[in-house]
Symmetry: C2
Subunit: 299 residues, 2 copies
């Protein structure tokens, strides 16, 4: 089944202690859509400017991503520039140029409205809500968020939480939102805000799911080299939703494996700048690492 | 089979934002020995002063711990006082009074020398080496350490690493020792220093094993409440060694489960001040959490 992905589509200029890569394909929706595309059809909703390189449109298409919902507007594509420290655990933003993203309103083509699986990748909660207003009874809605929205759009975010099935956020955001450092308490508090399923991401330490079937501790695939972690979280939730949409059976029966697939898809993302490594990854590469992770955690 | 445990036997005065508990039973060997005692016979080597409360000797005995190697000397028992911050992730030392520990030399009763499993809990590497000098061809030797020894006794520690089978240390110590932030690289470098097996502990994020059979990602048991994490690392390696010594079959066949048992034993340690919770824990409690952890990580 199709996954509808809405979020940011951007150009990222990324510096690390060893390299500098200007204007890579980036944005939450780009990473999530390509990650989801390993498992089945994906529909993208986003906006880019006239400067958006053709090769990136081709990249989306090569991954079978439906671009009917991608607006191409007069103006510049959203551009983010950031720099990572030596151990890749901290980054600082060097520049944020919103361009056409500043006035973006996600409008769904008619064909997108019945999409059964909806991924509201990181973007302003008001825009995530606007997407839901246009949907026809989706089967499963997941949303990602970031600290920025906790700081400036909490009211919209709280409204959103009542309308989604799965919230995905990282541990620092979970602590900020719940005012509780303990992951078990944080999960309980987040469920009370609405979502039946909550996943707290812990980067290289994996992630933890809370849901009606109990908790699940998902491992991260251990990498010997992290080249660029930008988009890893988006790839995680993209891979997760792609797998869920492709799997037969109930959400409850598939969600654990979906997290493992998300984790593995994110591991490839970290091994190259922007989408470079993900772009050349195959489904067979993913299956191989999923098997490895099963072996790495078996006892 | 018996596990020989050598390390510190101390009185710990522990403050948290909510409580203050003076002169609890503490020390690396106390935590490790009680943790190992759930699985089989334990022999303790340590030193205490005349002030050491009788109730703590009774606690050791209640857990079937052989005290033939516990020296009782004129003077004060090693006393450590520390304070935890709100989230329990950081602690600071308020006082360290070495007492009889200052001149401690671990001397093994003749009956201890053929012990097949040896746990060199955290103590100066020179003393850990002195224990090995007295052993008769042990089957499996594990050693724990701490940042202090990396700072002041590196030469002894490097000598020790060539004589042990398993090194257990936490992630910050692994990074300090190898000068590498990446856990896969750190494992590889630590193996090169001697030990066939290396476990890097990551606190609430679990631990990772490197060994001839490959790596194993061990989960931590998720706790909704951490009362006092003092001794959790010692309980982990104590439970691990206790399980290993009790299990039939090869080290390689048992080490993964041993880590899970260690992890669960450590979870109980964190739920009470000092050894209070561990003391009232049963083997059945441990088995229950091991089953839960299997369920929490299955996919």
């Amino acid at each position: 089944m199709s996954v509808l992905v809405v979020g940011s589509t951007a150009l990222d200029s990324i510096k690390t202690p060893k390299a500098s890569h200007p204007r890579l394909l980036g944005g939450s929706a780009s990473h999530a859509a390509v990650a989801a595309s390993f498992f089945g059809p994906v529909r993208l909703v986003g906006v880019v400017g006239r400067d958006f390189p053709k090769r990136y449109l081709e990249l989306y298409r090569r991954h079978g991503i439906d671009l009917a919902g991608l607006q191409i507007r007069d103006g510049q594509t959203f551009h983010w520039a950031g720099e990572y420290e030596v151990n890749m655990n901290r980054r600082r933003t060097l520049a944020t140029e919103l361009g056409v993203f500043e006035t973006f309103s996600p409008e769904l083509p008619a064909a997108y409205r019945p999409s059964p699986f909806v991924l509201l990748a990181n973007i302003a909660p008001a825009l995530q809500l606007h997407v839901l207003d246009q949907m026809r009874r989706p089967r499963f809605v997941a949303a990602d968020t970031m600290d920025l929205w906790l700081n400036i759009a909490m009211k919209d975010l709280l409204r959103l939480l009542k309308r989604i099935d799965l919230l995905v956020l990282n541990d620092s955001e979970a602590h900020q939102l719940t005012q509780d450092d303990n992951v078990i308490h944080a999960l309980a508090r987040l469920h009370k805000l609405g979502p039946k399923y909550v996943i707290i991401k812990k980067g290289e330490h994996g992630s933890i799911l809370g849901g009606p079937q109990g908790r699940f501790i998902a491992p991260a695939y251990p990498l010997s080299k992290v080249v660029d972690p930008t988009g890893a979280g988006d790839s995680f939730v993209g891979g997760l939703m792609g797998y869920l949409a492709s799997a037969r059976g109930s959400i409850d029966a598939n969600l654990r494996r979906a997290m493992v697939y998300g984790s593995v898809t994110a591991s490839f993302c970290c091994e190259g700048f922007g989408l470079k490594k993900t772009d050349t990854t195959t489904r067979a590469d993913i299956e191989k690492r999923v098997k490895e992770l099963a072996q790495l955690t078996k006892f």
